[in-house]
Symmetry: C2
Subunit: 311 residues, 2 copies
């Protein structure tokens, strides 16, 4: 993914659903848009929808062999084909051929990747880096025109290689809406996701038409680290998310605040030395990844103005 602002109109845009096969806003919207893409059409471009992981969607699971959305590192994409490689690696290579190749001039201009979480994160925009001015302008546009309470989550730590599906395109964002159980489609979450994509497409349309987007300052949450659950000597979880932390995504957590509760009535408090802003609190898919919540800090970023130079 480049962080350079596009020098030409974005015409090849893709909207991915079922990157995780049990996150149902994306599954239902992508299926609908494949049949009827009229909502994805603007005057300067038409986006296409894709079911990223059809096999996981059929089984209504996050993935079948390994997490597809961790399968787009270059090592996977350039590995020789083999009988033994997981289905999701095969599928990542296929998607990379269609919408990439990653890092090449042939790659699609932009990908929207639709996700749901069981955490109370509301509607949230996930970007790779605050240096990605185009994505930050899109987020600002959505916050301004759609709703103020649509936090920005910066998922990459430093120079970490991108591993997500949108990294095969020139640029992209993930849209995250919750809380929604896995395997359930809630009309309210679906409507939020639909609005996020609609406003994102509108932003690209305005950019393509040469609109000026002035510089601004904006809050974003950046990942510090991930917190595991407390565990006993056998590695089993010995505590669960404290009721006072549950559903408090993106709200301040101060040193001394309770974060876990054990079944025999004890509590574990946050022992850091500064206020953090947790996210993905009690996300179902992260139990196996040993993540109770993501520790985020909130920072202000200055984003420069952008404008497409029309010929």
């Amino acid at each position: 993914m480049t962080t350079q602002v596009p020098s030409k109109p974005l015409t090849r845009v893709v909207v991915s659903g079922s990157t995780h096969g049990n996150e149902m806003s994306g599954v239902f919207l992508a299926r609908h848009w494949i049949k009827d893409p009229s909502e994805l059409t603007r005057s300067t471009f038409s986006a296409t929808a894709v079911i990223a992981n059809p096999r996981a969607m059929e089984k209504c699971v996050r993935y079948t062999q390994q997490d597809l959305n961790r399968s787009f590192k270059m090592d996977y994409l350039v590995a020789l084909d083999s009988e033994e490689e997981p289905y999701e690696v095969k599928r990542a290579k296929e998607l990379n051929k269609i919408y990439g190749p990653k890092g090449s001039p042939e790659a699609y201009d932009f990908m929207f990747d639709m996700h749901n979480t069981t955490s109370n994160m509301g509607a949230c925009i996930i970007v790779d880096s605050p240096q990605n001015s185009f994505a930050m302008h899109m987020a600002n546009y959505i916050q301004t025109n759609y709703m103020q309470k649509c936090p920005i989550y910066v998922y990459k730590k430093g120079d970490e290689e991108s591993y997500t599906i949108d990294s095969i395109c020139k640029n992209g964002v993930a849209m995250e809406v919750g809380p929604q159980p896995q395997g359930v489609v809630r009309a309210d979450c679906l409507a939020q996701m639909r609005a996020l994509v609609r406003h994102g497409l509108d932003f690209i349309e305005k950019f393509n038409q040469g609109s000026a987007f002035p510089a601004f300052d904006i809050d974003a949450h950046t990942l510090i680290s991930r917190e595991d659950y407390p565990r006993n000597a056998d590695g089993e979880m010995s505590g669960i998310i404290h009721p006072k932390l549950q559903d408090k995504d993106f709200l301040p957590l101060n040193p001394g605040d309770p974060i876990f509760q054990t079944l025999d009535g004890n509590e574990v408090v946050y022992e850091g030395d500064s206020t953090i802003y947790p996210a993905f609190i009690n996300e179902a898919a992260y139990y196996e990844k040993k993540i109770a919540f993501a520790k985020m800090e909130k920072k202000v970023f200055s984003i420069p103005d952008i404008q497409l130079k029309l010929d």
Copy 2:
């Protein structure tokens, strides 16, 4: 399961968790109580906890080959052992040997079976029949002492054979708490489940001690039928739960009220001729069973007094 009121104190009582391996209140409580059963002890008996489906728990899925909680029909339990039979049938037979045999004098006296739902059903008690006076008295005791808003759900239709895990014991109830996503343990749901079981155990203690439980009238919800989602010619879901129905479990639904929404903006209304009380609205596990919600009616039942005759 008998509907006769016990003529002796109940001394063999079991609490089942992980009957569905991704319903986490029961998974966490059963694991805790297996290590430390002190909470399950009363003066007249001690209950034991069991992990009903350990393999499903390990994988954090509802079941591995077929729904364990539909595997306790007599046909399954008496079938000859075979290499091909699903894991859950094998496990049902094992459980039947330990806590049954179903319908025999050797069976355990009572089973509490702990479940979670993604539906907004709150804390709910599921009984097989309003003729089960002992279970209805337990439900009334819990409503009176714990919380009024703890509806009774009667799951069996007429003379249908019992297929649930508690049917191998002489008597039993299921405790259902939601909304909670599959694979997530929420402290608030866990606390509700723990209170339901605690009050249920207290009721058995009082019964064993010879307390008199006078007759009463009580509301209960009985199953009329199950409603599928709207589908297109290919059998795919063409509508989702309407936002006005979402989270409205146990509230009245009147003819003409919206129940489904299509992605192109149409709504489907309820066409019945009388008020119903839906439950299990948008339950994740019921998509594959083609159940959008359970259609219930609310009725008043007169429950006779019960009292154990002490020697």
